[in-house]
């Protein structure tokens, strides 16, 4: 069967060039980077070269990069590490209502432990306002953590401005840049951030490896104990092939960024136009300030999982703010924070395009989707019929 992958925000295929750079470290260069013999030195060199690459891609310097097992760990390390390091200064943390759970739940856990956390609301497009951040800042604020781009609706936050504000107030600023890398320019200096999280598998790198940018001079508490790896901030034998893959993947991700994303945007807009031509549909997320590959629409009167599975039967892979493998669910906290009603939220579909998608694939989706919608609506107790 024809397969059309439109779920690049969930994960991406590993780039072949990236795999080829990883393979020697999955084969002959298997040493432990902490070993001082030639096997170890070979591995150490690879790890440090990858650190240079990651730093170069972000406009950082190598010693500001800490490798982790992914963005979940990077977010936990960043938020918990700063909260603990700064707790003498204050106990107030500002975040948003639309963060990924790795940020949201970490902040919620700190709230339970006695920190004061402000979860900033967003507008109907999922956007956090700089003014809202400014208004939330108090003398006790030690950390602001706002994502660069939202994973569900693709809305791009005003991170550089929030960063500027935090600098003025001498508050540490972290951003979860997971969805942004390879889709929009990400430069830690331009963004005025002190910490930034990323994970390789979202930009054609391997799963199970990520990084935290930690601006020079920013103190972080350890919360994970073991060997002296990553300056003791992230102990554990390094995932050498993964780290090598991350380095190559980010190098490729930022190359020809504009040309790549312009191409994706054209396809995304074509898909958007076709989808919104279906009756009773609605775009979610910001119409302009949005990741080039993201298209989140609500298809009224039907539920997301049944849409996903129906598309899957046609070989099309997408996701929804409604469904997950663990069963029916409260609809996405992101869509709810944007003010969607339950039905609209439950009917959301997220298409996220990648570098390999083609016009034919988009047209195929637009060909099969209307019938699926019609069929599911015909079963729906809430559908009142066509307007036509």
């Amino acid at each position: 069967m024809r397969k059309v992958y439109l779920d690049h925000a969930a994960t991406t295929p590993l780039n072949e060039e990236v795999l080829n750079e990883m393979l020697p470290y999955l084969k002959e260069h298997f040493g432990n980077p902490s070993s001082i013999h030639s096997f170890g030195r070979e591995a150490r060199r690879a790890v440090e070269e990858s650190r240079e690459r990651v730093a170069a891609a972000l406009g950082a310097s190598a010693e500001e990069i800490i490798f982790t097992s992914g963005a979940t760990e990077a977010n936990n390390l960043a938020i918990r590490g700063i909260a603990r390091a700064q707790q003498k200064k204050g106990n107030h943390i500002i975040t948003s209502a639309v963060e990924h759970h790795a940020v949201y739940d970490t902040c919620a856990a700190l709230q339970k432990e006695g920190f004061d956390v402000t979860f900033l609301p967003v507008d109907e497009y999922g956007m956090v306002s700089v003014d809202a951040v400014a208004a939330a800042i108090t003398d006790k604020t030690i950390l602001v953590t706002i994502m660069l781009a939202n994973n569900e609706v693709g809305t791009i936050m005003p991170i550089a401005e929030i960063g500027q504000l935090c600098r003025e107030h001498d508050i540490i600023f972290h951003t979860d840049a997971v969805q942004a890398i390879g889709n929009i320019p990400v430069n830690v200096k331009d963004l005025n951030v002190d910490l930034l999280s990323l994970t390789a598998h979202k930009f054609y790198g391997p799963k199970g490896v990520g990084a935290l940018y930690l601006r020079k001079g920013t103190r972080l508490n350890v919360y994970h104990y073991g060997g002296a790896q990553e300056r003791k901030l992230r102990p554990g034998t390094e995932n050498v092939p993964g780290i090598v893959g991350l380095g190559k993947a980010i190098e490729l991700a930022v190359k020809d960024l504009e040309a790549k994303t312009n191409r994706i945007k054209v396809l995304r807009d074509r898909l958007q136009e076709g989808l919104l031509a279906i009756e009773h549909t609605k775009l979610n997320g910001h119409p302009q300030q949005r990741l080039p590959g993201n298209l989140n629409v609500s298809i009224l009167f039907v539920e997301g999982e049944s849409l996903i599975l129906s598309l899957d039967l046609k070989g099309i892979a997408v996701s929804s703010g409604s469904a997950c493998t663990s069963g029916s669910l409260d609809p996405s906290h992101v869509l709810m924070a944007m003010g969607l009603d339950h039905q609209t939220a439950h009917g959301s579909l997220r298409f996220t395009l990648g570098v390999n998608n083609t016009e034919e694939e988009i047209d195929y989706v637009l060909e099969v989707l209307p019938d699926i919608v019609t069929r599911l609506r015909s079963m729906s107790p809430v559908y009142k019929g066509s307007n036509k």
Partner: protein, 145 residues
């Protein structure tokens, strides 16, 4: 994740639709949880379910369980039908993923409500349903990716 039977009933649901002038109608679920099932009954003088139809808003499990229960009870008496449990429906489908057992497996409740509606004792039932709605363990809000 789903059995073949679930996928079969999801892709080819039996008895979709409405019955005009139904003898009993039952609806369970709510939009918050993302599952709404409505069942329509036609019951003959011998209290046998002559016809049954459903409309469901929900996931594949919700649609498949709705479809399955209509097949299970067509031709049965309402006394027999009242005995059917959500668990039995899931079993007929070869099982459901664990979380779905508690989430979208409400068809027997909808059927009961329809029968009770036919029997004319609706008040009692409304309470029961509310309870079902609240007990539904829909805690998957952590499932972003």
């Amino acid at each position: 994740m789903y059995t073949e039977q679930v996928m079969d009933h999801f892709t080819n649901p039996r008895n979709v639709g409405e019955i005009e002038k139904a003898d009993g109608v039952g609806e369970v679920g709510n939009m918050k949880c993302g599952d709404i099932m409505r069942i329509y009954l036609k019951v003959n003088d011998n209290e046998v379910i002559e016809d049954i139809k459903f409309r469901t808003f929900g996931c594949a499990a919700a649609i498949a369980t709705s479809s399955m229960i209509t097949e299970m009870v067509k031709g049965k008496t309402i006394t027999e039908a009242m005995k059917i449990t959500n668990k039995q429906v899931a079993a007929e489908l070869g099982g459901l993923p664990a979380p779905k057992m508690h989430c979208s497996n409400l068809a027997a409740d909808a059927l009961k409500k329809a029968i009770e509606n036919y029997q004319g004792n609706n008040n009692q039932v409304n309470n029961k349903i509310e309870e079902t709605g609240n007990n539904c363990n829909r805690d998957c809000n952590n499932c972003s990716y």
